[in-house]
């Protein structure tokens, strides 16, 4: 089952971290560009809401989710939590934090900025902070995030955006 490979679970150390960490460090270094592209993309998603509704969101769910998984997996090492907040986390996917923290780093970050749990991995939130400094709307990192909804795991957050359920930036008001 491919989903098991990507599913987010706060279970500590996970295989494949090294490749993922390299991807994440790339996306954080290009946070500004990605932010720009994401803002554009979000507008497209919202604008195409009616068309997508006409085709049927249910029918689109599986194919769109797999495209989203492939694209965001490659760019951000995305874990498909289904409620994307990348724009509020400096383009560093917070679901790669072994504790699944969505509001900032824990108190255990090592002096060299690596993760308390996985000494090989840079802390997701140290990267998130660096990314947010590069972004135009990096201040969004200051916004408190609500608890994650575990039912949305593996679902497409792009479709959720075009349904008007949440914004790609995780903010209530959209961008």
């Amino acid at each position: 089952m491919p989903s098991a490979l990507y599913a987010f679970e706060p279970t500590g150390r996970r295989a494949g971290n090294r490749v993922g960490a390299a991807r994440r460090s790339w996306s954080v270094r290009h946070a500004r560009l990605l932010e720009f592209l994401y803002c554009r993309f979000e507008r497209v998603l919202i604008a195409s809401g009616l068309v997508l509704r006409w085709i049927g969101f249910d029918r689109l769910e599986a194919p769109v989710a797999s495209i989203e998984r492939a694209v965001k997996g490659a760019l951000f090492d995305c874990r498909m939590c289904g409620q994307c907040i990348l724009s509020s986390t400096g383009m560093s996917c917070p679901m790669n934090c072994p504790k699944g923290l969505r509001n900032g780093p824990c108190g255990g970050v090592r002096p060299d900025g690596r993760c308390e749990i996985d000494a090989e991995m840079p802390c997701v939130w140290v990267m998130a902070w660096e990314g947010s400094l590069r972004m135009r709307c990096g201040d969004r990192i200051r916004q408190p995030q609500i608890p994650i909804d575990h039912r949305l795991k593996e679902r497409s957050s792009w479709l959720a955006v075009s349904r008007g359920e949440h914004a790609l930036d995780g903010g209530e008001s959209g961008s």
Binding site: G12, S88, G100, G104, P105, G107, W129, R142, H150
Partner: protein, 337 residues
């Protein structure tokens, strides 16, 4: 696009300083009165004997305002925080319930909060929790359903809006003084104060920090805290504790997540004839220095396996200024079975 900033600021303004005390507890009362508060951590027993809790609490004498009942600290299994709180209340002490996101989901947490409040708990400290790999059950499933910020929000909602996260009504809300932890000594340093602001916005009314062995670093942190006005809406208690030897210091540096001990401290212990006494002296000096930093409202003493020295440390530091801490009731505490 500075919506988030506005959000945080609005919450900071709406702090409940003037609104009166939210809990019936001593800790909140002491802090609101502007006294320098002292809290301490109780070593949790690995037993089912209540006497073990009473005996340890007695060691604090009248030196502390509230006692932290740790919740599986370091991811090691001990008596539960809720149970220790209940026992401490029975013996006349004021406990601080600790909840770590590592071990429970939102259903268990909210149930525990109601139960603890029903038993008379007035304070709760919301923590992320160390990873399971740090403790004696590294094979356990880490839960982390909520994080410390959303945990604060959940309990605040239970208290102020009288409802569970689900929106279901609570008939009698828990009156709790809400606390959080922060580590000014771990990266990303510039983000730490903003993260604390997030916690305050989510509901934190007091903060206990990680061990402070580096006062200049704390000063820099506090400066930023004052710039952001966080000290105006949240009481900050600085974590301290005596190091028993240079070996312990080195061990902590390597094995306890998030503990920063500068080389100068190691060198000072190493050069001392009586390392244990030097560790206590250092702790006293740090308490005295920290007390002078504007915005610091108290200290939190973590004296693992050195609880008996806590009264001495607190009294010698002079922070209580002659006032008696504690809700110590010797009649109950000493004679309990």
């Amino acid at each position: 696009m500075n919506q988030p900033q506005a959000d945080v600021a609005r919450h900071l303004d709406a702090a409940q300083f003037e609104a009166g005390q939210v809990s019936a507890g001593r800790l909140e009362h002491v802090l609101r009165r502007g006294e320098f508060a002292v809290t301490a951590e109780l070593d949790p027993p690995d037993s089912a004997d209540p006497k073990d809790v009473f005996d340890r609490a007695t060691l604090f004498g009248s030196a502390v305002d509230a006692i932290n009942a740790t919740d599986g600290s370091g991811a090691n299994c001990h008596m539960s925080s809720v149970a220790m709180c209940a026992l401490l209340i029975r013996a006349g002490y004021e406990p601080i319930l600790q909840i770590s996101c590592r071990d429970y989901n939102r259903i268990a947490i909210q149930g525990n909060v109601l139960g603890a409040a029903a038993m008379g708990v007035s304070n709760v400290l919301c923590l992320t929790g160390d990873g399971v790999q740090a403790g004696d059950h590294p094979e356990a499933k880490p839960v982390f359903d909520l994080d410390s910020v959303s945990l604060l929000g959940a309990i605040k909602r239970m208290r102020d809006e009288r409802m569970f996260l689900s929106g279901r009504k609570i008939t009698s809300p828990p009156r709790l003084f809400l606390g959080a932890a922060e580590n000014p000594f771990a990266p990303p340093f510039e983000f730490r104060p903003l993260r604390l602001a997030k916690k305050v916005a989510a509901g934190a009314q007091f903060v206990q920090t990680q061990f402070c062995f580096d006062v200049p670093m704390l000063r820099a942190f506090m400066e930023r805290i004052r710039d952001l006005g966080i000290d105006q809406s949240c009481y900050i208690l600085v974590g301290t504790g005596p190091l028993s030897s240079v070996r312990t210091a080195r061990w902590m540096r390597r094995h306890v997540p998030g503990v920063h001990i500068p080389d100068s401290v190691i060198a000072r212990l190493e050069g001392a004839r009586d390392q244990r006494a030097e560790g206590r002296q250092l702790c006293i000096e740090i308490i005295q220095e920290v007390r002078e930093i504007p915005g610091v409202a108290g200290v939190h003493v973590m004296a693992y396996r050195q609880t008996q020295f806590v009264p001495e440390i607190v009294h010698e530091s002079g922070v209580l200024k002659g006032r008696a801490g504690g809700m110590h009731c010797p009649a109950i505490g000493a004679s309990s079975d």
